[in-house]
């Protein structure tokens, strides 16, 4: 069992962490005194697992969002380190600057050559600040597109990891055309003739997420979310206060299950009991399997078929009513 770091705990994780602490204490005590406590420990472990199951099988959308934002949740950089061999990062948009909020590079997952593109939130404070906590500027999206075109030119499949609270809202971002650049990415990603697999690994924050999200396959980690607006932003608009973020999370229908029911995503990758941060190696293993399988499934399609597949996929999205045509037409 992986130990949760004590540096950060969500309120609903508290009972689990308490039990784990007790188990740990008993183990240490048993070891040092050579008293056999295995029966007692066994019982507590069972109790802890039951508790976990009870809590994690009925998470509210807001609790899932907290997990998606958990400081110990595996980030793009962790996943790349864990599953990509031969990785070589490629920087810069060759136009303005290198935006660290998007990580790009070539590498291999097993034998499969890939281009990786992912939001980078940063590991330590300095990196977090330079990455604007995973909120890219236009040059980040331009960099992503430039590298994706490189992959396209050489027939290398593209994997993107989505994990952003949203594209950066600031003066410079607007001066450099945030809206125009994101839009261009949506359009240009549609034209690429290589398989594109997108995985939402944490936060799927609106247009900033979609900017690297036009894939043939869209996968989501179980406790990640994908939304048109953050719950805080939604609450501020509807209730004039971010305090209503839990209610907003409920009505926005932003969980992996919701997206699956709308037919937007193709697959939910299950997380370890207790969330991805409790057992990152297991998460890496599952991600790797799912990515390779999806690339393999797409590899039979020609470039034109991949483009057509993306067109068909996104054109299907949306829910509306078709009423009988009124007779007033012209």
């Amino acid at each position: 069992m992986a130990k949760a770091s004590s540096s950060h705990r969500l309120d609903f994780e508290a009972p689990i962490i308490e039990l784990e602490k007790k188990i740990e204490e008993l183990r240490t005590f048993a070891e040092s005194t050579e008293v056999d406590l295995s029966g007692q420990i066994e019982k507590l472990v069972t109790k802890c697992d039951e508790k976990k199951r009870a809590i994690f099988n009925s998470l509210t959308p807001w609790q899932k969002i907290q997990l998606a934002r958990h400081p110990q949740r595996p980030l793009t950089s962790d996943i790349v380190t864990a599953i990509v061999a031969d990785f070589i990062e490629l920087h810069g948009d060759k136009s303005f600057r290198d935006d660290p909020a998007i990580l790009c590079g070539l590498g291999r997952i097993d034998e499969q050559r890939v281009l990786l593109v992912g939001h980078r939130k940063g590991k330590d404070t300095a990196e977090k600040v330079s990455c604007h906590f995973g909120s890219p500027h236009p040059e980040g999206y331009k960099k992503a597109m430039l590298k994706m075109k490189l992959a396209d030119k050489f027939g290398v499949p593209i994997v993107t990891f989505i994990n952003t609270p949203g594209a950066y809202p600031g003066i410079g971002a607007e001066e450099r055309g945030q809206a125009f650049v994101i839009a261009r990415n949506l359009m240009d990603m549609a034209t690429l003739k290589v398989p594109i697999v997108c995985v939402v690994i944490g936060e799927g924050g609106s247009g900033g997420a979609l900017g690297i999200g036009i894939g043939n396959r869209i996968l989501m980690l179980e406790h990640s979310y994908y939304s048109v607006i953050s719950p805080e932003g939604c609450a501020a608009i509807l209730w004039k206060s971010a305090e209503y973020k839990e209610q907003a999370a409920n009505i926005l229908k932003l969980t992996a299950e919701d997206l699956s029911s709308f037919g937007i995503i193709d697959e939910i990758i299950p997380e370890p009991l207790g969330g991805a941060h409790r057992d990152p190696p297991l998460v890496f293993e599952r991600l790797k399997e799912a990515i390779l399988r999806n690339i393999r499934e797409l590899s039979g399609l020609s470039g034109d078929e991949l483009v057509k597949d993306r067109y068909d996929k996104f054109c299907k999205m949306g829910e509306f009513e078709k009423r009988l045509k009124e007779t007033v037409d012209s």
């Binding site: 945030q178 809206a179 247009g207 036009i214 994908y226 009505i251 709308f262």
Partner: protein, 283 residues
């Protein structure tokens, strides 16, 4: 315009008492303006050139040849897929907007002619939930783009949306950004022309998708155009926003729109560009 201006200013005060109905105060510059002139200029203030919003019907009348517009996709009506209930339910808000505008949703798409040139034309109506894009708006735009491709006609869309992607349809609205953009990619691949016209305001998810993807992008003067709303930006940077930030003029200066065009000259400019790009030579 200058000689007229003085006359109007003084005239405004003089005539106000005798014929109150003919004069109104501009909410932008606070000057009194002659209503028939304001209307003749299609809701543009003759004093400060502020472009007030106009309805989709007025826009169609203003840009297309008389009686040539035929609306398509009228069978599409919005649903409430999220069962979205907050302070007021989405269903309620939809009904209200439908009654108020007599539209099914926030945009109108169809075929028509501009100075004899056949076009597929669409316009969002900002009176309907701030012109925001949900599934119906996305689908109508997508179908309009596809129709333009099939007919080999230019696609012209006049955007006006303060709402961007419509929150009430959640991630389904977000995906309309993808939908309209992949359709435009296909139009582009087939050599079709898309002219995007930006009016006040065009923000968020509309701006970060189809509205930004015109082969040619025109903007009306003084429109608010951008990604994040000024309030959000102010909160993030914790300081005031510079004057003129995210205006049409700002976007022109930063290289994101081709031209700023007054409402009165929009039709002739559209036709000029279409002709110069050879749209009158199509079979």
């Amino acid at each position: 315009m200058t000689p007229e201006e003085n006359e109007k200013k003084s005239g405004g005060h003089r005539k106000r008492k005798e014929m109150p109905d003919l004069w109104m105060q501009c909410t932008s510059c606070n000057k009194l303006v002659y209503k028939p002139k304001f209307e003749e200029m299609q809701n543009v203030c003759p004093e400060c050139n502020y472009h007030f919003e106009i309805s989709s019907t007025e826009r169609i009348d203003s840009l297309l040849d008389e009686c040539t517009f035929e609306e398509h996709f009228t069978e599409l009506y919005p649903l409430d897929p999220l069962d979205f209930v907050a302070v007021r339910s989405y269903e309620d808000r939809l009904k209200g907007a439908q009654e108020f505008t007599k539209l099914s949703d926030a945009c109108v798409v169809g075929t028509g002619k501009m100075d004899g040139l056949p076009v597929v034309f669409g316009v969002s109506d900002s009176r309907f939930l701030r012109g925001s894009m949900g599934s119906v708006v996305g689908e109508k735009i997508r179908r309009g783009i596809d129709l333009a491709r099939e007919l080999s006609q230019p696609f012209i869309f006049v955007s006006g949306s303060g709402g961007g992607a419509r929150m009430d349809e959640g991630v389904l609205s977000l995906m309309q950004m993808a939908k309209t953009s992949v359709a435009l990619a296909e139009l582009d691949r087939c050599g079709g022309l898309f002219i995007s016209v930006l009016t006040n305001p065009t923000m968020g998810g509309c701006m970060a998708s189809f509205a930004a993807l015109g082969d040619v992008i025109f903007a009306e003067p003084g429109a608010l155009i951008g990604f994040a709303g000024p309030t959000v930006i102010k909160e993030t940077i914790k300081s005031e926003i510079p004057d003129g930030f995210q205006s049409s003029e700002f976007q022109l200066e930063h290289g994101f729109v081709d031209r700023i065009i007054n409402r009165g000259e929009l039709r002739s400019s559209l036709v000029q560009v279409m002709r110069l790009l050879g749209c009158d030579q199509a079979a």
